[in-house]
Amino acid sequence: MKRALFITLNEVRLYLQDKADLAFGLLLPIITFALMYGAFGGQTMFKATAPVVNEDRDAYSAQLIEQLDKVEGIKVELLTASEADTKLEKSDLLLVLFIPSNFTETLVSGDKAELVFKQRGNGGQEGQILASIIRGVIENMNQEFLVRNQMRSNLEGKGIPENSIEVTVKEYLDKERQQPAVGVAEEVTGGSPDFINQYLPGIITMYVLFSLTLSARAIVEERRRGTLERLLTTRLNAWELFIGKFLSSVARGFVQTFILLVLSYAVFRIFTPLSFLASLVISLIFAAAAAALGMIIASVARSEDGATWIGVVFTMFMVMLGGTFFQVSEGTILATIGKVSLNTYANEAFRTIIAKGGSLGDTLQPLAVLAGVAVVGLIISRLIFRAVPGGK
């Protein structure tokens, strides 16, 4: 066993000296997390393109389009009627605002003008929100007409001159627009901390799994070169060699996770000392399960390229099915399929500790699964592992 441990220590030492490996194992998860944080971690806002057909091309339609374009997150796209109809027909668009040709003329004459929403169904989620935003903008435009009309009604027969009404309306409208009687205050809950709790474990487990499955390539290379065979000509026996390689994979995975968790602790302060220790235990067991998978790949692959491909395939599937990038709802088919992924259990355990403030006792089930995978994987890989093709 001592010799097996020497192999382990040697491999860990080599890992810490290998800049390419360290870049892959440490830098890449940081870059990925930073990317995702930048993309999704802030308070995102609704963004949409408002398709508009403007057959009016006059003052009030221009004002409407200008005000709509000023709304944060909304971009107006002008289309011709035939373009809009074609896109609606093909469902490339679900909602289009049509401004009729006599829009301005009608309003100026004092009559009511009608805008048309051409849509499919309810207009889809985005369409419904666009419609509500457009209605809000129209309400602002409407305000001026409504106020004048109402004022005239209220002041009829009171002998107030028309120009006094106009001046006063303008004065009060301006005042209202600058300082509305009813403002809107927004408060948002959730956001960044949820994002970290949601995605950080997944990204860490993803890259640990990648590292360990790709390290199978190194074992295959050693087998091909004959260095494994050379080790067997020493006093090392096949079991010790195998265990040494397995433990070195576990150690590598653990060291990698340890460094990433320490960085997370330092930057995001998402741990207590106890939860950090609990996370380390989860890391160790996950690393063992991932290492076992890596050993199976090393046993099965005939070439380095084959090992790379198998490692990438397995890892990407486990990552996608394991809820790394999106929440998997309980009871769905995806949740059922996701049970084959190591990441499902590791992410669940991490989230219980980090996000929900649970203890190790609350993670017994996923840890048991991971430990089981490690043991079974180890046995299977030992049965099929050959240090020498056709040999021990």
């Binding site: 003008a113 805008l115 169904g121 889809g124 209605r135 809000g136 305000q143 006063t168 009813v182 205050a185």
Partner: protein
């Protein structure tokens, strides 16, 4: 002519070697499709969501206040009478309960009237509606804000009418100047406005009509899944071939080739050609499968889709060549291929659409060829754009290909054998 022959033979040789490696062929073709099938399954129904928006209102004001009347007027009493696209307005009875529900993620958000709503309006001190939402629910947040602005605007209109009318009437002597008379007149106007109700709504000068042209059909997820993963896997497969030059160097076959009458440029050209041929085979299979099995819609300009695909292959092959001239060992070639693929794919919108990113990140993504490729495909296949709309994407991919190719040629020319 001789050099072209060399290029061709080297390409054929690489293709022969590749075709003999059954595991690589399997992963080159089958693996991407496993992903596509999975994501098609996951994404089905996306884009087909047409559920009516549900917006929650609550008031902290005591019974009898103005907010109660507003909510009562807006509340949906019979959903079946709502027109297409009209949101369902739900009244929540308890503010604290609604607040907890949002924090627990059970409710997306609500709009609340403050306890002093009517009093503040009457006193003219101004007040604020509260929109409380969960950060993850961007849609509901936007809708509630829109509704809040509409309410604010309507009330503002009423306030302007009342204040302006009273001011003019006081000025004209129709109302006495004392505070009580003014308040009484204002209250009377307010009551008239409130009792006007639906009639008053009909007084709106700009109205809406909804023309329903059909139902919402669920978007075929293949229209964005296949292009996204095509871009990723064509690039990944090409990047992995960066090992070829490294292997030729390690095998000493590179030296052997140079000692015969093969030029360095021919070797580079041969490897590039072989990689391009593999990429073309990949995209033919992708699109054939996509059209026949997943019923992908190539949009208004299938030619543009084809050109974009071919340019993607050329760019990826040039990148692989550049990578090959940078890598010193097989292991570093493989690592670089995996690293670049894994960083560029999500940044470039292969895993999820890049329009979900904030503006600054979308701008950064433009340094990736992936962003240009997926952007072009999305424009053509999801947004119904024409050929001309994706010419910038085509030019960008061509530019990347040229830059990578020049770097590769320069480095290979100056590198030791």
């Amino acid at each position: 002519m001789k050099n072209l022959k060399h290029v061709w033979f080297i390409a054929l040789k690489d293709l022969k070697i590749f075709s003999r490696d059954r595991a690589s062929v399997f992963f080159f073709i089958v693996f991407p499709f496993m992903f596509i099938i999975l994501f098609n399954f996951l994404m089905r129904g996306v884009g087909g969501e047409d559920k009516r928006l549900e917006l929650h209102l609550v008031t902290r004001e005591a019974a009898g206040g103005l907010s109660q009347q507003i909510i009562s007027a807006m509340e949906t009493k019979d959903e079946s009478r709502l027109g297409p696209g009209e949101p369902k307005i739900v009244r929540d009875k308890d503010y604290e309960e609604a607040h907890r529900a949002v924090e627990d993620g059970k409710l997306a958000g609500f709009l609340a009237f403050p306890p002093d709503f009517t009093q503040a309006l009457m006193a003219g001190t101004g007040t604020k509606l509260e929109v409380f939402t969960n950060a993850s629910n961007v849609n509901n947040r936007a809708a509630l804000n829109g509704l809040a602005r509409a309410i604010s605007s309507q009330i503002g209109t009423n306030q302007v009418v009342i204040e302006a009318s009273v001011a003019l009437l006081v000025q004209g002597g129709a109302i006495p100047t004392d505070r009580d008379s003014i308040n009484k007149a204002a209250q009377q106007m307010m009551n008239e406005i409130l009792s006007g109700g639906e009639e008053r709504a009909g007084a709106s000068y700009i109205t809406f009509r909804t023309d329903k042209v059909g139902e919402v059909e669920a978007e075929n997820p293949s229209n964005w899944v296949i292009p996204g993963y095509l871009v990723m896997f064509v690039f990944f497969a090409a990047a992995v071939t960066a090992e070829i030059i490294v292997r030729e160097r390690q095998n000493h076959t590179l030296e052997r080739l140079l000692a015969s009458s093969v030029k360095r440029e021919s070797i580079l050209g041969g490897i590039f050609t072989g990689t391009v041929i593999k990429g073309l085979i990949q995209i033919i299979i992708f699109w054939a499968f996509g059209i026949l099995v997943f019923h992908v819609d190539l949009g208004l300009s299938p030619l543009a889709v084809i050109i974009l695909s071919v340019l993607m292959v050329l760019m990826s092959s040039a990148f692989a060549l550049m990578l090959a001239t940078l890598a010193k060992t097989l292991r570093s070639a493989a690592s670089l291929a995996v690293i670049t693929s894994l960083v560029l794919a999500p940044l470039g919108g292969c895993w999820w659409p890049s329009f979900l990113y904030p503006e600054w990140l979308q701008n950064i993504a433009r340094i990736t060829p992936h962003a240009w490729a997926t952007g072009g495909f999305n424009k053509l296949m999801v947004y119904g754009a024409g050929f001309g709309d994706v010419v910038p994407s085509m030019l960008a991919l061509l530019g990347f290909a040229v830059v990578f190719g020049v770097i590769a040629a320069w480095r290979f020319r100056t590198s030791a054998v």
